[in-house]
């Protein structure tokens, strides 16, 4: 039944902060049959106080608003900003505002929040002393900071560090943090966590003073209890919060001895028609200074007004945040101690990581913990704690990273009622059933459907994993799509591009994608186009990674390295001399690479065409060291010089390198040829390796060095040269056509169903009947190869692309600087 607005009971909300706003939002969401009247003290509608420091980082007041001013109109909420309530007449159930308005209420919700706690230190009233609470405070701080050189924050808690970030953003030369306790964030983390956090913050330019009691604030700075002083031009006090309970106290409501409006589990104050929510209330001896419990309180009151029996039963104070770029998280009881508790800690002082978990003595349950520097495991650890999940036999894996087994698997063991998104109170069950019954398939749809992940966003990775795992459990096909612009895997897209004979990125995007592309799909499509049509990279240079765009590897300081091809590692004395002369002329650092070539470092982008003109004149070609392409085929000296050599490995390596040079692939490709079983070319550490035998050659594939070394596995044994090349043609083309982007051959093989025996059946036995097609594709590649650098220097238009400044083509980047290193040079650290 619809009621006329006038006839609806009235709820007056005192306070338009984050929690007061959330209460309105929850009432609107429930279509609650009440008329809402809101009074706010600040001159503007509610804004995001949690991200206040973003105001100095370029966000505007508008950006920080919880909802635009017209939202209140649209929802028929009467909002009076800049007009605080000054008196509650409980007998007449009426409130009176500063500007003289009187409004009768049926229910009153106090969301008056808190103010900054300012300790009584002599000098606290002086100039240049601020609190950090409202946008007005920030405006004053910003104004004062213009003429300040140094600043200090009193208080090393969560808010204090936020305030310190704000001072850093304002560009003060020195920013200090002064904390009374012997550690930072004493509520959330322990001494070890504080030490790790302190190191990280100090490296970012903060100066931290712990265990310091401030005795006096003078014009020039702080005086500590031990007589020491700290010079500072301005001071921001962030020593905690004080609940704003003065209005309630004046109205005769019961408040706590140390402040806070007393409420019960239904959030009623001592007057049954008055509720209290957020930082102004005292619930079960707790004042909650975080936004999430305030939101939960808002939901409880909105629910109760709509007839639900929901209660507020305390709130888990676990939290994860990024402080000045450093991850800090604490969950459950971070400080748990005693004979029944075992605390495991892990520390990596190099990476600035500290982790602690508190486990029951029997090793069965997680009680809480602390993560500093890397909070990636927070979601799972937090869930494991609150749901009392029985731990695996090696609980240390929780902080060391699993040795086998995935985190996502642990996720599915969570109980259905596990709260995944605590901001919006969304359970695992709601998320999974949105996938099962609501046909939700991605995070954006999930946000719309359940609101999970729309608050702080911390649970998003977990929600994504839940979507994927639920889809897998339902037998739904989980596709690895290229990126947000293409709903196809690389293999699918390659087939589509080939069948439709598309030759440009724009055509591919128009036909099969959406949006305007990105740094993921552009090079992936570029690689597909290059593999299929072998067209010159520079024709579509802006879809290439910077290395491909400038045909050189970008290095520190924005300089480039130059690597000419030296097939098989064989080079004449004359060519060696040319390399030396070019390096000397352009001031380049030279080094022999791991792939038997010579790398010239430190080239200005504008010098690249001239360098290459000289190299090409001497008979060099591009070495494709910048591309996801064939790099080198390494060789040992083989039978021509070595007394053990069985066959001529150098000649074979040169032949193969020249055959596959310029071949673009999902990732870089390396090869090797060894003349005997001693394997001096380390061919089995390459994507393809060929080793001489008494009867011919053994062909190994899918090996690599790198961070996860893998030995290449035997594909065919004792084959002659021609057969070996035919198998290689098929193998390489099959890889190019079917691998995901940036996947080396070893990873591609490890994901292949049937593994090596399947690969052998395709390549050697031609079980798919595509052998001829793959060979033809490779023949076409060989026939159409052109040196990219030769083409680049022959075309003046292409050459112009290499100027650093388009409006001053002769000038070099002045920020590139060199410093001596042994007898050469290196790029200066920025």
């Amino acid at each position: 039944m619809l009621m006329a607005a006038d006839a609806m009971p009235v709820v007056v909300v005192v306070g338009n902060g984050m929690v007061g706003y959330k209460f309105c939002e929850k009432m609107v969401g429930r279509k609650a049959p009440f008329r809402l009247v809101v009074f706010g003290e600040e001159p503007r509608p509610a804004y995001d106080r949690v991200h206040l420091s973003a105001y100095f980082d370029g966000k505007t007041e508008e950006d920080l608003r919880m909802a635009p001013a017209d939202w209140y109109d649209e929802q028929h909420i009467a909002l009076y900003t800049g007009d605080p309530i000054v008196r509650i007449d409980r007998a007449r159930k009426t409130v009176h505002s500063l500007k003289g308005q009187s409004v009768s209420y049926d229910y009153l919700v106090l969301a008056t929040g808190s103010s900054a706690f300012v300790p009584q230190i002599p000098g606290v009233e002086g100039q240049g002393v601020f609190v950090y609470r409202t946008l007005e405070d920030l405006d004053m701080i910003r104004e004062y900071a213009r003429k300040a050189r140094t600043g200090a924050v009193l208080g090393g808690g969560l808010l204090g560090l936020e305030a310190a970030k704000a001072l850093l953003d304002l560009g003060l030369e020195e920013t200090h943090v002064v904390e009374f306790a012997p550690r930072l964030m004493p509520r959330q983390i322990d001494a070890g966590g504080s030490a790790a956090l302190q190191r990280q913050l100090e490296s970012l330019g903060l100066q931290i003073h712990l265990g310091r009691q401030t005795k006096e604030i003078t014009d020039g700075g702080l005086v500590f209890a031990d007589g020491a002083t700290l010079d500072t031009d301005m001071l921001v006090i962030s020593a905690g919060i004080r609940p704003r309970d003065e209005l309630a106290r004046q109205a005769g409501l019961v408040t706590g001895p140390r402040g806070g409006i007393l409420v019960d589990d239904t959030l009623r104050t001592s007057d049954p028609f008055i509720f209290g929510i957020g930082e102004c209330v005292l619930h079960n001896d707790m004042i909650y200074g975080l936004v999430a419990p305030g939101y939960e309180m808002a939901d409880v009151v909105a629910s109760r007004l709509c007839g639900s029996p929901k209660r507020f039963l305390g709130f888990d104070m676990s939290t994860k945040l990024k402080l000045i770029g450093v991850d800090v998280a604490s969950f459950g009881d971070p400080h748990a101690e005693g004979t029944d508790v075992r605390a495991l800690t892990y520390e990596d002082t190099y990476a600035g990581v500290y982790k602690r978990i508190n486990i029951t003595r029997d090793g069965k349950h997680l009680l809480g913990g602390i993560l500093v520097g890397d909070a990636g495991a927070y979601n799972l650890l937090h869930q494991t704690t609150v749901n009392k999940i029985v731990l695996p036999p090696n609980p240390e894996d929780l902080i060391l990273g699993a040795r086998g087994g995935s985190e996502a698997a642990g996720l599915m063991d969570l109980p259905d009622d596990a709260v995944i998104c605590s901001c919006e109170g969304v359970t695992k069950q709601s998320i999974c059933s949105a996938v099962r019954e609501g046909s939700v398939r991605g995070i954006d749809a999930m946000k719309k459907c359940t609101r999970a992940g729309t608050g702080c966003g911390g649970c998003v990775p977990m929600v994504k994993d839940l979507i994927t795992e639920t889809m897998k459990a339902e037998g739904l096909y989980v596709k690895t799509v290229l990126c947000e612009h293409f709903d196809y895997s690389r293999q699918e897209l390659l087939d589509l591009v080939r069948l439709n004979e598309l030759t440009s990125y724009e055509a591919v995007l128009d036909r099969f994608g959406h949006g305007d592309g990105c740094e993921v799909c552009k090079p992936a499509v570029a690689s597909i186009l290059a593999s299929l049509w072998n067209d010159l990279i520079l024709k579509q240079d802006t879809i290439q990674d910077s290395n491909d765009r400038f045909l050189a590897n970008i290095q520190k300081g924005g300089t480039y390295s130059v690597v000419p091809r030296i097939p098989g590692g064989e080079i004449t004395p004359d060519k060696l001399i040319v390399l030396g002369e070019v390096a000397r002329k352009y001031g380049l650092y030279t080094k022999i690479t791991g792939g038997q070539r010579i790398d010239l470092f430190g080239a200005h982008v504008g010098d690249l065409p001239a360098i290459w003109r000289e190299l090409i004149a001497a008979g060099f070609e591009s070495g494709h060291a910048y591309g996801k392409a064939l790099r080198t085929v390494k060789s040992c000296v083989g039978s021509t010089w070595c007394r053990f050599g069985l066959h001529d490995s150098v000649s074979f390596a040169i032949e193969i390198e020249n055959r596959y040079k310029g071949l673009r692939a999902p990732h870089k490709l390396k090869g090797g040829v060894s003349g005997c079983i001693r394997e001096c070319a380390e061919a089995r550490g390459k994507d393809f390796g060929i080793i001489a035998t008494e009867k011919g050659w053994n062909l190994y594939v899918c090996g690599n060095g790198g961070s996860k070394p893998a030995h290449a596995q035997l594909l065919a044994s004792d084959v002659d040269k021609e057969t070996c090349i035919r198998y290689l043609d098929r193998f390489l083309m099959f890889y190019i056509r079917t691998a995901d982007p940036l996947t080396r051959t070893s990873v591609w093989l490890s994901k292949m169903e049937g593994g090596m025996s399947y690969l052998r059946s395709v390549v050697v036995n031609d079980s798919l009947g595509i052998g001829g097609e793959l060979e033809a594709a490779m023949d076409q590649h060989v026939a159409t190869y052109r040196c990219e650098w030769k083409a680049a220097i022959e075309d003046p238009a292409m050459e112009r692309r290499f100027a650093h400044f388009v409006n001053a083509p002769g000038e070099r980047d002045p920020t590139v600087a060199m410093q001596p290193l042994r007898d050469q040079v290196r790029a200066k650290e920025w």
Binding site: G58, D516, C518, D545, I554, V806, A808
Partner: protein, 124 residues
């Protein structure tokens, strides 16, 4: 080619002639020297839009954003550039880091007139 199109995102105190439109590759960027500073100019041909930002990436201070790939992010198709060094991405409109890290790029208004690229710069 969209010429004579005004794409002012802010009130600039002065329009500075930076380069010719053909100096900037289609759907890509180029760097222009402005006094001691370096500005990256982007020719977003696909959208018929032009953008300008600092050339220095605020993440690791590399002078390379003009060499980065441009594209769009999210359902609202926010135009963005990815730094070639570590692939941090930034909104071409607001300069905000789209990985939600506390880095921010300065952006400049651009307008095109008669085949020339003008960048709105502060007089100071």
């Amino acid at each position: 080619m969209v010429n004579n199109q005004y794409m002012e995102t802010a009130i600039a105190t002065r329009w500075w002639y930076a380069c010719h439109t053909e100096d900037v590759p289609e759907n890509g960027g180029a760097c222009v020297k402005w006094g001691e500073d370096q500005i990256a100019v982007f020719n977003f041909t696909r959208r018929g839009e032009w953008y300008a930002t600092d050339n220095q990436c605020p993440h690791k201070q590399q002078m390379a954003l003009s060499r980065g790939m441009i594209g769009s992010a999210g359902p609202s198709c926010e135009p963005k550039v990815a730094c070639p060094f570590h692939k941090k991405t930034f909104s071409l409109v607001s300069g905000e880091c789209l990985e939600e890290e506390p880095y921010r790029l300065r952006t400049y208004p651009v307008r095109i007139h008669d085949g020339k690229v003008y960048i709105g710069v502060d007089e100071a």
